[in-house]
């Protein structure tokens, strides 16, 4: 701060970098969060490097080289499916779909949830009440049933699946954001800003949103986990994109060819474990983030 040559903008950036560093060193004290982060990094790398790790030819039924439901061997580390494809190859390519749908659905869900929560919390009145009721109404609808109904209305594709999951999973976020907005709304610095001449847009952008965003952030990771589970479920029920392999569609295939009865555990277990692993990792990271970003939880460890 003693360098007079820096402009306030540059100094502010440096301050922000400092606070990121502080946050990171706080995060590092959460061992479970670090483990989760490590697992996530591995999964994301696998998804990104899929073309390198496994030849996409391995996905084609016609080019399959293995036998039907072969047990794991040196050539097929995780055995083969009913079409003779390597389960490992399927698993690697499947991670792309699962992660992508998870993230896309989360972005949609967070977007809707944050907007609805902010507006209903900040404005109150008739608009706020109506939005609040709508939120509650969507919340009590069984999410999965709603998603199944919506998904069956459209031709399945990655985008449709993501949208269906996003559109059905926002009410929780909206309620959280609304509660936080209601408490921020009463703070004295909003009144000060109003006296300075601020309008609603400025108040929302400069004062409410920055104080609500940490909550959104922590909540995001939890939503991703739920979205991945939903994608798996929808694919398992046959509502996924039929042209792409995902963990969910693998589980569906395994189930329909009777992998359980034939004892082909290598077809059933790996995608299941991957889903559980990713979901757990996101949850761990989310919990750690929550306590990093919420100063009230910080002291309580």
């Amino acid at each position: 701060m003693s360098a007079p040559t820096l402009t306030p903008g540059a100094l502010a950036r440096r301050r922000r970098a400092e606070s990121w560093r502080r946050g990171w060193s706080e995060f590092r004290t959460h061992r479970s969060g670090l483990v989760g982060l490590g697992v996530l990094v591995v999964f994301v790398l696998v998804a990104l490097l899929a073309p390198v790790l496994a030849d996409s030819d391995g996905l084609s039924v016609t080019k399959a080289t293995g036998g039907v439901l072969e047990a794991p061997s040196a050539q097929y580390w995780l055995g083969t499916d009913d079409n003779g494809r390597s389960v490992l190859t399927l698993l690697i390519w499947g991670s792309q779909v699962s992660l992508m749908v998870g993230l896309l659905a989360t972005v949609i869900s967070m977007g809707i949830g944050t907007l609805v929560g902010l507006v209903s919390g900040y404005f109150g009145g008739v608009l706020g009440q109506v939005l609040f009721r709508v939120t509650e109404w969507v919340l009590v609808l069984p999410q999965l049933v709603l998603a199944i109904v919506l998904a069956s209305l459209f031709d399945p594709s990655l985008l449709v699946i993501s949208a269906v999951i996003g559109v059905t999973s926002w009410p929780g976020t909206a309620l959280l954001i609304r509660a936080q907005t209601l408490s921020v709304k009463e703070r004295a610095y909003l009144e000060r800003s109003r006296v300075l001449g601020a309008g609603h847009l400025h108040l929302l952008r400069r004062h409410v949103l920055p104080n609500v965003v940490p909550m959104v952030f922590a909540n995001t990771t939890l939503t991703v986990a739920i979205a991945i589970l939903n994608e798996t479920t929808l694919s398992f029920l046959g509502l996924g994109d039929p042209t792409r392999v995902s963990w969910g569609s693998m589980l569906e295939d395994a189930f329909s060819v009777g992998a359980i009865t034939t004892g082909s555990w290598w077809y059933l277990l790996p995608p299941g474990l991957c889903v559980v692993g990713v979901v757990l990792a996101f949850t761990l990271v989310g919990q750690a983030l929550e306590s990093v970003l919420d100063p009230r939880l910080r002291g309580r460890r």
Binding site: Y189, R192, G197
Partner: protein, 335 residues
Amino acid sequence: MTSHPDGPVLEARGVSVRFRTRAGEARALDGADLRVRAGEIVALVGESGSGKTTLARTLVGVQRPTEGQVLLDGTPLPTRAKALAPFRRRVQMVLQDPAGALNPRHTVYDSVAEGLRLHGLSQGADGRGEEQQVADALSAAGLRPPEPLFLRYPHELSGGQRQRVLIAGALALSPQLLVADEPVSALDASIRGEVLALLLSLRETLGLGVLVVTHDLGLAWNVADRTAVMYLGRVVEEGPTEQVLTDPQHPYTQALLSVVPEVEGLAPQVLRGEVPDPTHVPAGCRFHPRCPALADGRAEAAGVAAACRGTALPVLPIAEDGAHRAACHLVTPPG
């Protein structure tokens, strides 16, 4: 004292603010008149529930009056938010709680620059850039040198510094009038004097007019040219501070002065009970159920006891300079 008769004037005329509550209609403000000129410091004193903060919020245009008007230089405040912008530049407010009135995620620089950015004044008309204006405002608020504070966050400041940052944020817009709501009540005693001295020096150097809302009569004595006393939504006594605080006319002001420890040599007249609920404003004089002058027979002797109980008093009009008035049947007998 140094009041500028031609300078800007902020006035409340017959302002009422009513809220609907479960217990009925609450009259937070029930016809209040008040005037602040540039270059003078006016203290608005009263207990909690007297409506002093509501009147202050109405004067800066964040609370819309149910009845009556707020006028700046004789022009009523516009109701549309956009049209209020020029008014906001001229009339600013400093809020009560310096810890809560600064966004914890904003640096001092951002907090002080907020007003400038809102009004598109970052490139000042006088050629000063935003940084220079922020530095000048902080210096004017007594934070010198200002640069080391730019990137501090509110929690890294002391209470006195926070209050000065708030004042700087208001000063950045170069207002002519400032409304300060309990500017020192959250501060330690030793810092109190510094902040009050700052208000006095801003009056001297910038010709600022200041309305100080406070429950502290010692503060009024410290800084105010004029003092207005509020009770249950109305100004009940108003005049030059020396006269109001050393020769109070209204029995409520007399009782208030007799119990504050800052005043010596008065027999304490402790009023029974507390300020009534604004949903049930008593008929007649609103103070009569607690009035010592009615209780000890002075009102009876003056022949106004019936009026105290039954005749409502008119709103105390804005006094001409130097005048001292009280809304009391004993002072201005009815009829």
